[in-house]
């Protein structure tokens, strides 16, 4: 039996571990080393350059644009998405449930099923300046003055991209929050109603504290989404990443630097920077969560 146990364990673990080491761990490990070299893809010609690549990042205006845009997304996307999703979820599942709530959930969740590429291609058409859905709709509604070259105006382009991220994410969090709200005992809502609390008071007093854990999870997830943004930007925007860096994101800079310019060492340094940003985000989120838990206890 003992023998069979080891054989089974080996058979169960080794294939997955090999794959993991070759395709996941080793690239991650190599990345940290490569980011300290000037490698251009020619074998044996990676020179150690220390932290030159990182110093160079600080003077790369396009990369700084990318950092700025990711930072803006990091603030805006989670806050707006969670606000809309919480609002809709509490409407759907609040103390006075709405007819057709599950049908709404089905519709809201649709975009979550679609590949970001499909969403990007679709929204590029929605935003198209002359015969896109949005501008021609505005014109038909007599609101021609509101029409914009959404992806062509630097002041609008990032907003337009973020709107798509939010559009595609809200449904998922509506369902997530709905489930959390659904787990709140109905008596709590009834008690609040008996106390004469209005909708808003019920939301603040009952719903919000009890879904805090889900909201926290949502922040972490949306934060990760906001640090990416690569697919939508690459498919939708002018340039891509434009106009003039207005929608550049770190992922796009990295991809272009590596696979168009062939500066692999430098591109990897961008990846390392992104890694530390993600790490910081995770640490902050966990700290924040822990502090809140202490406060609540």
């Amino acid at each position: 039996m003992k023998h069979g146990r080891w054989r089974f364990l080996l058979a169960a673990l080794v294939p997955a571990l090999v794959l993991h080491v070759v395709f996941v761990l080793s690239p991650y490990a190599q990345a940290f080393y490569l980011s300290l070299t000037d490698w251009t893809g020619v074998a044996g010609e990676a020179h150690f350059v220390g932290t030159d690549n990182f110093a160079r990042l600080g003077g790369d205006s396009l990369f700084l644009d990318a950092v700025r845009n990711n930072a803006v997304m990091l603030v805006v996307v989670p806050v707006v998405t969670i606000a809309i999703a919480l609002f809709l979820a509490s409407m759907l599942n609040g103390r006075r449930p709405v007819r057709g709530a599950s049908a709404y959930q089905i519709v809201y969740f649709f975009p979550q099923m679609l590949s970001l590429v499909i969403i990007g291609v679709l929204w590029a058409f929605v935003y198209s300046p002359n015969n896109g859905l949005l501008n021609s709709g505005l014109r038909a509604a007599g609101l021609s003055s509101l029409t914009q070259s959404w992806l062509g105006e630097p002041s609008w382009a990032l907003i337009a991209v973020m709107a798509v991220v939010i559009w595609s994410s809200v449904g998922f969090y509506v369902v997530l929050f709905s489930a959390a709200i659904d787990g709140i005992p109905r008596e709590l809502f009834e008690a609040a109603t008996l106390d004469g609390a209005g909708r808003w008071a019920t939301f603040r007093g009952v719903t919000l504290p009890l879904v805090r854990e889900s909201v926290q999870v949502a922040f972490v997830y949306l934060g990760i989404v906001a640090l990416d943004g690569f697919v939508l930007v690459q498919v939708m925007t002018v340039g891509p990443g434009g106009p003039d860096g207005a929608t550049e994101v770190v992922g796009l800079s990295l991809y272009r630097t590596a696979f168009t310019y062939g500066k692999f060492g430098y591109a990897t340094a961008m990846g390392v920077a992104l890694f530390f940003a993600t790490l910081t985000l995770a640490v902050f989120a966990l700290r924040w969560g822990r502090r809140n838990q202490v406060e609540m206890a």
Binding site: H20, V24, L133, W167, V170, L176, S178, V217, A267
Partner: protein
């Protein structure tokens, strides 16, 4: 995070009975978001049945007569059919392999005590917190060095490698909660370790397998970054890649209706499957998020 893992699986609420004294505001708000969500999708389907001329000049009107040949053209001429099958092969292969390897590791780590148990577990779990962009460049060279660049096996292996960590993480907690008695009884009956896993534990873990399977399927089906870097051969493009290529470098032939038809072809199976299995999918995906 561990506290979150023990959450019960999400229950999706049914429509509650209507209540008196309806307030129109919540309904309006919800209707508005439903329109915002559905409109672009409906518009894409509608546009896929229009002529190029109609798309360019009358974006809001329905087609004068539905042009179903757009779909046929997208499927054949625009190679959507080929991309579709490439996706099927790659995602199908990767999904099978992921579920097999992931459940094996999760089970072994969850139910067996051995030296390095924790190490194995955290080796996998830690990888979930690394951005893929960090690995992108070295991964490209690893795959190239192995001669797997632009091949089905290459993509399948890489997809699997990146899907296994979450699968292990998710199923690990699942296997832990399964009762031990059945397995012990099976051992007493003389079943081998492998047989216990495949005949007893896997069937018991079915709900968890379905949830993580759905989650993995969607993740893999919609994968774009990995194939973009690792799959440069247009003949082997997966669906997401093919659509992006069609829209960005449509090449020498302008064909909007074909592109909309391609989008619709790519959307419809997913949406139909979603409507059919929506409860499981939403439950599975949200349970997956709250890990």
């Amino acid at each position: 995070m561990t506290a979150l893992m023990q959450r019960p699986p999400v229950r999706v609420s049914d429509a509650a009975p209507p209540v008196s004294r309806p307030n129109p505001l919540p309904h309006l708000a919800m209707l508005a978001w439903a329109v915002v969500t559905a409109l672009p999708l409906i518009w894409a389907v509608m546009s896929s049945l229009k002529t190029d001329e109609e798309i360019l000049n009358h974006p809001w009107s329905p087609p004068a007569s539905p042009q179903f040949e757009n779909w046929a053209r997208a499927w054949t001429t625009a190679s959507i059919g080929r991309y579709f099958f490439n996706s099927l092969i790659v995602v199908g292969g990767a999904l099978l392999l992921t579920m097999l390897l992931g459940s094996l590791v999760a089970y072994a780590v969850a139910r067996y005590q051995f030296r390095g148990n924790r190490l194995v577990y955290y080796t996998f779990v830690a990888a979930m917190f690394f951005p893929v962009f960090l690995a992108l460049v070295p991964l490209f060279f690893v795959v190239r060095q192995l001669g797997l660049l632009g091949t089905y096996p290459g993509l399948i292996l890489v997809y699997t490698a990146y899907a296994v960590p979450f699968t292990v993480f998710f199923l690990h907690s699942f296997f832990r909660t399964l009762p031990t008695e059945v397995a012990e009884a099976a051992f007493l009956d003389g079943c081998s370790h492998g047989a216990v896993f495949f005949r007893v534990m896997l069937p018991l873990a079915r709900p968890g397998l379905v949830a993580v399977g759905v989650f993995n399927f969607l993740g893999l089906w919609n994968q774009y970054l990995l194939p973009l870097v690792l799959n440069p051969d247009p003949d082997r493009y997966v669906l997401a890649q093919g659509l992006a290529a069609l829209s960005v470098s449509q090449g020498y032939d302008s064909d909007w209706s074909g592109l909309f038809a391609g989008l619709t072809i790519a959307m419809l199976p997913v949406l139909v499957a979603y409507v059919a299995f929506q409860r499981h999918i939403r439950a599975g995906m949200t349970a997956g998020a709250v890990r």
